[in-house]
């Protein structure tokens, strides 16, 4: 059985500022998304569908010093454990992110993110002539290829700047 760790590691240390004070408090339970590419935290939150109208307590730290990455972002979500399907979407913009599931201040699960084969309902097709940009009752659907995201309807490829098209 995997031994539980306390919430810490690089993410825990990095969030201490110059005065050794925590920029973001530890959470009792929920999810910590660590090693997010610097500047992408708000997009991660957007991908997870967390908006001002959702109820979770949310903490975000951006451009935190990191031994591995130079700078990174961290997102902490109180009282909500994200599923694998939810967190894998993050891989589209931050493939090195790590997910820590926290219970009673301990890291109970730690996992990386995997790029999914198909992304549905997350990204808008940039092609104005695509049928998905009409009033049809369908979600956008993209297959993930080596060149980027390929629209399953019109074959348009989003090669870079995926975040601009997040719904």
């Amino acid at each position: 059985m995997k031994r539980a760790e306390s919430e810490g590691g690089e993410g825990g240390n990095a969030e201490k500022g110059e005065n050794e004070g925590l920029l973001v408090r530890r959470i009792r339970s929920g999810t910590v998304i660590d090693h997010i590419a610097a500047g992408e935290a708000l997009n991660v939150v957007k991908i997870l569908g967390i908006t001002g109208t959702t109820t979770e307590a949310l903490s975000i730290a951006t451009n935190v010093p990191s031994g591995q990455m130079g700078k990174k972002d961290i997102v902490k979500l109180n009282n909500r454990e994200l599923s694998k399907q939810e967190v894998d979407r993050i891989a589209l913009i931050s493939p090195h992110a790590t997910i820590n599931i926290i219970r009673n201040f301990k890291v109970c699960e730690k996992k990386g993110v995997e790029i999914p084969d198909v992304v549905e309902g997350l990204v808008r097709c940039p092609n104005p002539g695509c049928i998905t940009n009409t009033n049809e009752p369908i979600a956008s659907r993209f297959s993930v290829t080596g060149k980027g995201l390929r629209c399953a309807y019109c074959d348009w490829i989003i090669g870079h700047d995926i975040t601009s098209y997040i719904l």
């Binding site: 002539g129 695509c130 049928i131 060149k147 629209c151 399953a152 309807y153 074959d155």
Partner: protein
């Protein structure tokens, strides 16, 4: 008769022809072989007796629609069609998804042309009968590609031929689909297009990624001696800011008996039609001209397609 089964995203097994990219070489060859048998009058004239084809054309079309209806009639079936887009329920705001679900109850297969890319794939997702794509916006037009290949095969083997694509290669969906299909046969591509109307970079990367050799030319005269097939597409006037620049461009991409003077003896000229000024009418009487054969071939090829999805 072999049929292609695509498992729909909602788990149902259906037969559709949406994109030439869904075919492999063996499947294309088999369909073209069937078209050849049909062309030789070796087919059952009542093969689709009692079957109904719905033609849903949300964009104007003459030859594609008529040739599908002719193909259905020659196989003993009947066709239903929407009179005009203005008169149909989509003009009242109905979604395409609802339209195809309703029409699925009236017909045994649906042929669709729609201005939006991906519309045929959406239709296939919601229809309970086979869907054939007859052109979706700047996207796919697989029946045109199949009849283009069939016409080339009447004159030469498809393997490792040299094909010139001439004209609007940016927006010309027939040129895109043909280039993709030819990549399965080891063809070399020679492109001649006005500035700004070149092959899209993504398609070019895809073709070269499949090992296709693509050579771009500034002048049509340089490309013609190198090729076995000259595939001409229409350059649309609306792509240019004014009539003068349109006429400048079209005149330098025009196929004439003079431009064909250096063509290989067996070289053929194809055009998906309608042509405007791209091919001089004097070319019509030359042995190179195969575009009217190409148009006529639409019927046997579409007969083979209809048999494939409905039998």
């Amino acid at each position: 008769m072999h049929t292609f089964y695509r498992i729909g995203w909602r788990g149902k097994a259906t037969r559709h022809i949406i994109s030439i990219g869904d075919f492999d070489r063996r499947q294309i060859d088999r369909l073209l072989d069937n078209a050849k048998r049909i062309d030789a009058q070796k087919f059952d004239k009542n093969a689709l007796f009692g079957k109904i084809l719905a033609t849903l054309f949300f964009e104007p079309s003459t030859r594609t629609r008529m040739s599908f209806e002719a193909a259905m009639a020659r196989l003993g079936g009947t066709s239903l069609s929407v009179g005009s887009v203005e008169a149909c329920s989509m003009a009242k705001g109905e979604t395409l998804a609802d339209t195809v679900r309703v029409v699925s109850g009236y017909a045994d297969a649906i042929v669709i042309r729609h201005p939006k890319e991906g519309a045929a794939r959406l239709a296939a997702q919601f229809a309970t009968v086979p869907v054939i794509n007859a052109g979706d916006g700047a996207g796919q037009h697989p029946s045109q590609t199949l009849l283009d290949l069939y016409t080339i095969r009447q004159s030469m083997k498809l393997d490792e031929i040299n094909v010139a694509l001439v004209g609007d290669l940016r927006y010309g969906r027939t040129a895109h689909s043909l280039a993709s299909a030819l990549s399965l046969y080891g063809a070399n591509l020679h492109t001649v297009s006005p500035k700004g109307l070149e092959l899209p970079a993504s398609l070019l990367a895809e073709l070269t990624g499949k090992g296709m050799r693509v050579t771009d030319y500034n002048s049509i005269g340089d490309a013609i001696p190198e090729v076995d097939v000259i595939y001409v597409t229409r350059i649309q006037r609306e792509r240019f800011p004014d009539s003068a620049s349109y006429f400048d461009v079209t005149s330098s991409y025009r196929i004439t008996p003079e431009t064909l003077a250096n063509a290989r003896e067996h070289a053929i000229v194809l055009h998906p039609l309608p042509r405007v000024d791209e091919i001089d009418p004097r070319v019509d009487s030359l042995p190179h001209a195969k575009y009217f054969n190409q148009s006529r071939n639409g019927v046997p090829v579409r007969m083979a397609m209809l048999q494939q999805v409905m039998q």
